[in-house]
């Protein structure tokens, strides 16, 4: 007998403002992530910076993923299968701090976000479950 799950798998989609990085999403983001990991080499970072579009065209990413990279739209990239541990390599290539990169998805300015973090961060209150509104 298979063991019983401790919670329904759908509950992973029940967290407000959150995309849990599942194996399916990972597959969706595979070629995007291949591009991100290529930025771990200095020569690739230089080539990307010199002509971003041409560099992106070397990867089997979707057009949507390429456009979102060009626009540095991390929120969109998350929807397209991205995971922050990969995406942060784009931010690092741009010389952005992780704080700035993460704040860009939060709907707040980098300053507001930084201030919120200094004041103890975002409370989980009301953000645990879409269904239970807690």
């Amino acid at each position: 007998m298979p063991r019983t799950r401790l919670y329904p798998l759908e509950d992973l989609e029940d967290i407000p403002g959150t995309k849990v990085f599942t194996a399916r999403r990972s597959r969706q983001g595979y070629h995007l992530h291949k591009f991100c990991m290529s930025l771990m080499k200095e020569e690739n970072r230089k080539e990307f910076k010199a002509d971003e579009r041409a560099y992106l065209d070397k990867f089997k990413m979707t057009e949507e993923q390429k456009e979102a990279v060009l626009e540095r739209d991390l929120t969109r990239l998350l929807e397209l299968g991205g995971n922050m541990y990969f995406l942060v390599k784009i931010a690092s290539t741009d010389g952005w701090s992780a704080l700035k990169a993460v704040s860009s998805m939060s709907g707040m300015s980098a300053e507001e976000y930084s201030q919120m973090m200094q004041s103890g961060g975002r409370s989980p209150e009301g953000l645990r479950s879409i269904r239970d509104k807690n």
Binding site: L12, G17, T18, L78, M84, V88, S92, M117, P124
Partner: protein, 280 residues
Amino acid sequence: MARITGGIATSHVPAIGAAFDLGKTEEPYWKPIFEGYEFVKEWIKDNTPDVVILVYNDHASSLMLDIVPTFALGFAEEFESADEGWGRRPVPVVKNHLDLAAHVAEQLVIDEFDLTLINEMDVDHGCTVPLSLVFGEAEEWPCKVIPLAVNVTQFPTPSGERCWKLGEAIRNAVKTFPEDLNVQVWGTGGMSHQLQGTRAGLINEEFDKRFLELLAHEPEELKYITRLEYLRETGTEGIELIMWLIMRAALGYGVEEKHRFYRVPASNTAVGHVVYETKS
């Protein structure tokens, strides 16, 4: 015989590594964080192990793309610091203890952990930031390090309960290694943080502090926290805390808590850090 004499847990925030490398440890933002590690830097001088089994997660540096192993033991002679997009951290090469690593691998498989062995990889901030925080600036790390990478990012990740059992198996494996070795197990990552979406910046101080309290005194209470609960309560990246359970279970029942530190924030993250010694 080898024995586990102590354990350390710490967050492994990359920005802490950058602050360390750029000499910003005295700046007002960073100073209170580095002060939280003054204790361990002294303690480790009298308690330098022969080997650290360092439990961490790779952040899309060597793993996570083509291969996503649940538990992976580093099996090269040495590991270089990874270039995560801004150049390699200027830290010493991490050197393995291959005999112990081989023994642990053998025993863990006997204990039904189907381990992955990695013959070549670089180690990223998950591994090198804890080493910098504990040992400070060094020409060489003063001990051997066996990196143990845990998938805490791509679901399905292992459960907290499974991590607990892995820690117990590591304890048994080390105990049966014939050579006299002083071994520590370090658990890294956490505490609460979320690096994505509109919930980014989530911090749950109440959860974190309860976790620190239970980890010292009633750690078995923690092993039944589900992955979903970590995600809801501590953020998508807060689930890294399951790696602390591997460390804690490897230490056995009684520990003496030598140090506890908690501070918000470092970059996007709540920083937690503990030092334990095993009894007996």
